[in-house]
């Protein structure tokens, strides 16, 4: 294992974003945790992890760099949200919110799904986009995971979900809630043929995402410092009328309480996932070692 670790690349390069979304190269980014300024290019080279260890959030497109070069092929990129409740309130207009988020992210909704390979191993993936209404789980989100899980079932490959979500999409009401069983039904079917679902929880993972597929994945990996919980911190503080400890609902807190399998820093994520995938998909002991990425 040691040798494998040395031979394999230590990291992945975040996928490129389209020019108008890219931060100008001459910009410095302030770490929300330690306040230190880092040159954007340097930060990207470091997978957007600050020198202090703080993991800044990646966009869904950036996460696609996790996979073997050019191996990510998007599926269901043509599914778009509707406004089933005709949600208009004095303070909020869902259709408008969707348009704004679509403009800001270039995505139709908060999720991309597709196929990829990781150090030569094929898999189905879904990645959330937190910048799209807080990565909230509505119809498109649910449909894309269900389809990814169904493709994984058909092709007999593992499913990887990379998650950052505030919870269910309020604007689609109970239809959002019903995405939880929809997704879990598809995952149960995948599990029935012995194919694993590996969930990566990045900051944050709350509500519906946690109460459906993420917390019952076969392997649960969290990024350092990711906040993970069912109820939001504000809600709990209002309920118990006292301040919560600082580390409450952190990945470290969840590990201590037995809720996740491991915490993996971003620069080790690619290799960790590749090694895990091999353990679950290679039944042949003479199989070749994980190929180094090129």
């Amino acid at each position: 294992m040691k040798e494998l670790f040395r031979r394999a690349p230590k990291a992945f390069t975040p996928g490129e974003q389209t020019p108008d979304q890219q931060t100008p190269d001459n910009m410095w980014v302030k770490c929300p945790s330690c306040g230190e300024l880092t040159y954007v290019k340097q930060l990207r080279d470091n997978l957007k992890v600050c020198r202090c260890g703080y993991h800044m959030r990646l966009s869904a497109v950036e996460w696609t760099g996790l996979f073997d070069s050019d191996s990510f092929v998007e599926h269901d990129g043509n599914i778009t949200p509707l406004d089933p409740l005709n949600f208009v309130s004095p303070k909020d207009n869902y259709a408008q919110k969707l348009r704004e988020s679509q403009h800001n992210t270039g995505l139709y909704d908060a999720m991309i799904g597709g196929e990829a390979s990781l150090m030569g191993q094929p898999l189905q993936v879904t990645i959330t986009e937190f910048e799209f209404i807080g990565g909230s789980m509505g119809s498109v989100f649910g449909e894309k995971i269900a389809r990814a899980a169904e493709r994984a079932y058909e092709l007999r490959v593992p499913l990887l979900t990379i998650n950052a979500s505030g919870g269910a999409r309020m604007h689609e009401g109970v239809i959002s809630l019903m995405q939880l069983p929809k997704v879990n039904l598809a995952l149960a079917r995948l599990g029935s043929i012995g194919m694993p679902h590996i969930a990566v929880m990045t900051d944050p993972c709350y509500g519906g995402v946690l109460a459906s597929y993420a917390s019952v994945a076969d392997v649960i990996i969290a990024e350092p410092g990711a906040r993970i919980g069912f109820a939001g911190r504000r809600v709990i503080e209002q309920t118990i009328r006292q301040k919560l400890p600082a580390n409450f609902q952190s990945a470290e807190f969840l590990l201590e309480h037995g809720m996740i399998d491991m915490i993996v820093p971003r620069n080790e994520m690619r290799l960790t996932l590749a090694r895990l995938l091999r353990l679950y998909t290679t039944r042949d002991t003479s199989a070749a070692p994980i190929a180094a990425d090129v």
């Binding site: 389209t18 979304q21 998007e74 990129g77 043509n78 599914i79 778009t80 949200p81 509707l82 406004d83 089933p84 409740l85 949600f87 208009v88 309130s89 303070k91 969707l98 348009r99 679509q102 403009h103 992210t105 270039g106 991309i112 119809s139 498109v140 269900a146 269910a168 309020m170 689609e172 009401g173 109970v174 239809i175 959002s176 809630l177 019903m178 995405q179 939880l180 069983p181 929809k182 879990n184 039904l185 598809a186 995952l187 149960a188 946690l210 109460a211 459906s212 993420a214 019952v216 919980g229 069912f230 109820a231 709990i236 309920t239 118990i240 919560l244 409450f248 609902q249 037995g258 809720m259």
Partner: protein
Amino acid sequence: MKTALTAWDKVQISRNVQRPRTLDYVRILCDDFFEFHGDRRYADDAAIVAGVGRIMGRSVMIVGHQKGRDTRENMKRNFGMPKPDGYRKALRLFHHAEKFALPVICLIDTPGADPSMESESRGQGNAIAENILIMAQLRTPLVSFVIGEGGSGGALAIGVTDRIFMLEHSIYSVAAPEASAAILWRDSSKAADAAKTMRITAQDLHEMGIVDAIVPEPEGGAHLDPENTVRKVGDLIMNSLEELSAIPTQTLLDQRYQKYRVIGAFNTLATNQHGNGEPLVFP
């Protein structure tokens, strides 16, 4: 008269303290019943009552949220908000039902899952998720009935079933109206607006195709004639279980898959999303 009720009126009726609760259903419908306690892991959560009973000569597993009628009972029942222990008790008894081929009746009546430090520490999200995952595959018929409030994942954790029914003035929502207002507008006093905007009534859910049937309530609400309402609910449940019991297990599971698989509102376009493309024009 009935049609004049607003969504917020229905929220109030669904929360009426005299509204029949799970144990009232058990008392009226069962000619025999044993309550089973505990999750065999940590505790017995009184916000969920569960046990095996007999209705119309048939043995059934009953799992339901239980609210209290006074402060003391509400403290004990945590206002019908289960902790992970409650969901894990339900999970244990779902497995039990499968083992002994008992059909499962779930009575839903909760504002939501307990939001506390204690529940988070013991994995509230995981407890709910596990139940959803197991109910999805349970090899016995399941029926759920929303008898009061169907609040969020807290309801769904005992609500993934072959049939979903609602009482006329019950509600089912992605989050309780107060919580919805707090999340959407950071103002829980706008709960009435949230109730209206988010389409949470039994009639809304029936229109959306999520709920299979609605049982009418006496004018003013079920609390004005609990006995009759409960019997009507019992009749629908038992008829439905009879019908479901005749379906071969694999077919039942396939139908359950399809029931939830088709829920969702989306469009399919000819073009894929990519980068920062032009924003979409909405219908």
